[in-house]
């Protein structure tokens, strides 16, 4: 890329007020290039992403410098515990040439920050980070240009440090003194000079800025906020999907201590009280007297895969590139997972404050703008009268109860104008009410030629949508319960290349013939939406399990077999790195009795971070209990902003995926969800924690950011399943890999 750089002339900047619009003639070409693969080592192909600048091009949407010296960074993305505040500040400080502590960051707020949609899909650094990187670099250029005028010195003789421009004679121009009114209210240029190989703050393991408050009892979460006059709300949830509230004894509850209001609107039922435990006791009394009509009909949990495959489907051809070949051997297999809960440790919470004709909601939603639109529609308010402000909650791992709790708080707040209402769900409400990661089935047939290479791959998946988030009011449980009920919008799949059920359904491997079909299932008897990694969890579990089955059929080593089918040098690098660091070729390690080794790889969405994982699993002969003993991951996340942040994300993905893989399963009877707490929905505890987890980053300095927050989930699941197969000699294809299933598989009678 050359010759397209738009230079902001000093004179135009000085001309000063009003917006200065720069040319964007090169944008189309830039976008076209983004679709291609950046090449390793090609710095010129790097850093051309403009991220969210495409949606919010003005520099002062991202960076503001005030005359009092405050420098503020704005992002439409939210801190979810992934460390995004710290990473974005690192990028801004690097490009502005300030210290980290000279900046403050404002995150997702419909009144203050750009609309960057949802904080999801491992997009935050790619989208917001890229925007902030360019915006910050151009703000610095503008400040240098202004200082050049004042100093009467060419810009190229000036340098910056510590939020000031320094002239050759030592004169110092603080950023705050250089900024005039509208100086930063200009659109970003499509490219600016960046020096990706000279980082001071990026690429460093800077400690997270949010951790000190979290470990000392600071106000760190929406759960901890106490605006003046705050009161407490609780809701009573229907016992099953779509249940209608027939009757309620609200009078006896209204006289309970502290109770300010019982709120009933259709089947929406809640209570507001002065103190939190008073609200809980009132909620319990309401629940005890509520009579419901239940109509839900849930599928047979014992035969979920059959149920899914029997549903009416809309068939989407994801890939159709089949050619005839000469097969020596054909294998087929079916892999499944049940519904999986997000299972946040902190039940969803929000604060609503209705004052005058305006509503403010503090929420841990992943998308404040879409939520704002949904709440406005639900309450019949103008959008500009509703403000949603992100405040941290417990980790969400996708679309959990956050938005629903925000809607509940909004309905309760409207009933007690002037009083901020803090609403938190109870544990059983979170477990039973959240939208789960959909149950899925993946079926694959593949053929090997006489030389043991895959010559045909035919793959099909069955899944509901993984996207029932707001925008529309009908996405909110409260809105569907009101007397004037909103309908749940018709489900839609997320189109490729990101996909939802079909995310990562196209193997990155090179096969001469391949087909992928997505049987999209509109019928959703169990509430579902986005769970971290979406369909990539199942698809990588299935593809990478089957790669091992094919390798065994070909008599090949699983790592070598993968490399034989891969061209992408970055994919090959993470695979060889993980294998080497693990000691894959050390056969002695493999022979520990009752232990097995497993390997898996994926590039998240085939366009974000690359991740390969090798692991060792021990299986207890008597109980069938599998325990992940050790995992070694290699990750290529492109340009890394905070290496420790990347390691933290991959470690977390491995442990969370291990929990999904070995333990987790949403249970239900004909009407009701029955996994409603941590006893009925067990997840990993410390007794299941591995002895060691290593994460190795392959540095790609100067290349585009590749989101890594979800990259480890699929590979971890498959690596564990492959290790269980190696340890037991039996292939298990249905998640979770429970002790009962492992024991049954080991007994000859249960063999298929």
């Amino acid at each position: 890329m050359s010759g397209e750089t738009v230079i902001v002339s000093r004179r135009t900047v000085l001309a000063g007020s009003g917006a200065l619009i720069l040319s964007f003639s090169s944008l189309g070409r830039l976008r076209a290039q983004h679709a291609g693969e950046p090449q390793v080592g090609s710095a010129s192909a790097s850093m051309q992403f403009r991220g969210s600048l495409e949606k919010a091009p003005f520099l002062d949407s991202w960076i503001r410098v005030d005359a009092d010296g405050a420098i503020t960074v704005f992002t439409g993305k939210a801190e979810l515990g992934q460390g995004i505040k710290t990473a974005l500040l690192q990028i801004a400080a690097e490009k502005l040439d300030t210290g980290l502590d000279q900046l403050v960051i404002v995150t997702a707020d419909t009144a203050r920050t750009p609309d960057e949609g949802y904080t999801a899909g491992s997009h935050s650094v790619q989208d917001s980070g890229t925007a902030i990187m360019y915006a910050a670099a151009q703000v610095r250029q503008l400040l240098i240009a202004e200082a050049a005028t004042r100093a009467g010195v060419p810009a190229d003789q000036l340098r910056t440090e510590n939020a000031a421009v320094i002239a050759p004679d030592g004169r110092r121009f603080a950023y705050r003194d250089l900024v005039a009114d509208q100086m930063l209210h200009v659109e970003a240029a499509p490219e600016s000079s960046l020096h990706p190989h000279q980082f001071k703050i990026m690429q460093q393991p800077i400690p997270r800025i949010d951790i000190p408050a979290k470990v000392t009892g600071g106000e760190a979460y929406v759960q901890d906020m106490r605006p003046a006059g705050m009161v407490h709300g609780r809701v009573v949830r229907p016992p099953s999907y779509g249940a209608k509230l027939l009757s309620i004894d609200s009078r006896s509850v209204e006289t309970m201590p502290g109770v300010m209001k019982v709120v009933r609107d259709g089947s929406f039922l809640g209570v507001v009280a002065a103190r939190e435990f008073q609200a809980i006791e009132a909620m319990r009394a309401l629940a005890a007297s509520a009579r419901w009509e239940e109509t839900a009909q849930l599928p047979n949990a014992g035969a979920l895969p059959d149920f899914l495959m029997a549903q009416l489907s809309r068939d989407i051809t994801v890939l159709d590139a089949r050619q005839p070949g000469s097969a020596a051997k054909t294998l087929s297999a079916t892999y499944t997972r049940p519904y999986i809960a997000h299972g946040s440790i902190g039940p969803s919470c929000a604060i609503g404050h209705y004052e005058g004709d305006a509503l403010t909601v503090w929420t841990h939603s992943q998308g404040v703008y879409p939520l704002r639109n949904a709440i406005a529609e639900m309450l019949g308010m103008a959008k500009d009268k509703v403000r949603c402000i992100h405040a941290e909650g417990a980790g969400c791992y996708g679309h959990n109860g956050a938005d629903d709790a925000a809607a509940d708080a909004a309905v309760l707040a409207r009933a007690v104008p002037g009083r901020p209402v803090r609403l938190q769900w109870m544990r059983e409400q979170e477990h039973a009410g959240e939208p789960y990661g959909p149950a899925m089935v993946a079926k694959v047939n593949a053929s090997l030629d006489a030389g043991g290479r895959i010559i045909d791959w035919d793959y099909a998946i069955w899944s509901n949508t993984h996207a029932t988030r707001p925008g529309p009011a009908g996405a909110l449980t409260a809105a569907r319960s009101l007397a004037t009920a909103f309908q749940q919008p018709a489900p839609r799949p997320i189109p490729m290349p990101e996909g939802d059920g079909d995310r990562n359904s196209i193997p990155l491997y090179k096969f001469p013939s391949a087909r992928v079909i997505y049987h999209f299932l509109p019928n959703m008897p169990v509430r579902v939406s986005a769970l971290r990694a979406l369909g990539a969890h199942v698809n990588v579990f299935a593809i990478e399990s089957f790669m091992d089955e094919l390798a065994a059929a070909a008599g090949a080593d699983p790592v070598q077999f993968r490399l034989q089918h891969l061209d992408d040098p970055r994919a090959r690098d993470v695979i060889t790195t993980a294998a080497q660091r693990f000691g894959w070729s050390d056969k002695a390690r493999a022979s520990t009795p009752g232990h097995g080794r497993g390997f898996a790889f994926a590039r998240y969405k085939n366009l974000a971070a690359y991740c390969a994982i090798a692991c060792e699993v021990g299986v207890e002969r008597d109980t069938g209990r599998a325990r992940l003993a050790r995992a070694v991951a290699a990750v290529d996340a492109g340009q890394v902003v905070n290496p420790d942040g990347v390691v933290n994300q991959i470690e977390g993905a491995i442990l969370q995926s291990m929990s999904w893989t070995l333990f987790e399963n949403v249970t239900f009877d004909e009407r009701r969800i029955t996994s409603i707490d941590w006893a009925t929905y067990p997840i990993l505890r410390f007794s299941a924690v591995p002895d060691a987890v290593e994460v190795h980053i392959i540095e790609r300095s100067g290349l585009p950011f590749l989101g890594c927050g979800e990259a480890g989930l699929g590979p971890a699941a498959a690596a564990i399943a492959n290790a269980v197969a190696a340890a037991t000699g039996q292939r298990l294809r249905d998640l979770p890999l429970t002790p009962a299933r492992i024991k049954a598989a080991k007994s000859p009678r249960a063999a298929e």
Partner: protein, 152 residues
Amino acid sequence: MKLNVNGRQHDIESDPRTPLLYVLRDELNLNAAKFGCGLGQCGACTVLVDGEAVFSCLTPVSLLADKEITTLEGLGTLATPAPIQRAFIEAQAAQCGYCIPGMMMRAQALLQKQPHAGDAEIRAWLEPNLCRCGTHMRILRAVHRARAGDRT
């Protein structure tokens, strides 16, 4: 009634049946102990009562009249963090961090009794506490780091 929290006596207005968690959060404006399940299944609400780790979500304040209650706020502050707090910062042992105060209080109870607890003891001791982000490796590193012999 009166409650001794972090070395100070507090007059409590709440009904004595109220679980300690709500008194700490709602009446004393303390943030660290978190509501997680209300069932004693996750440990997010863990505090110390006379040095023992207890689930504050299950313990009515009526049982605590003569007890010494310690929350995370009572161990140290942002300016002068306690060893366990310093260790968690140094190990960057948090993702969302919601479970972490409970983890720290349970670990604190162990280290007060057994300042040199080994890895197996630490793992077994932390079994009641859940983390959903998968930060366990860092939590273990932080607790190791906080042990008396390992303090820097």
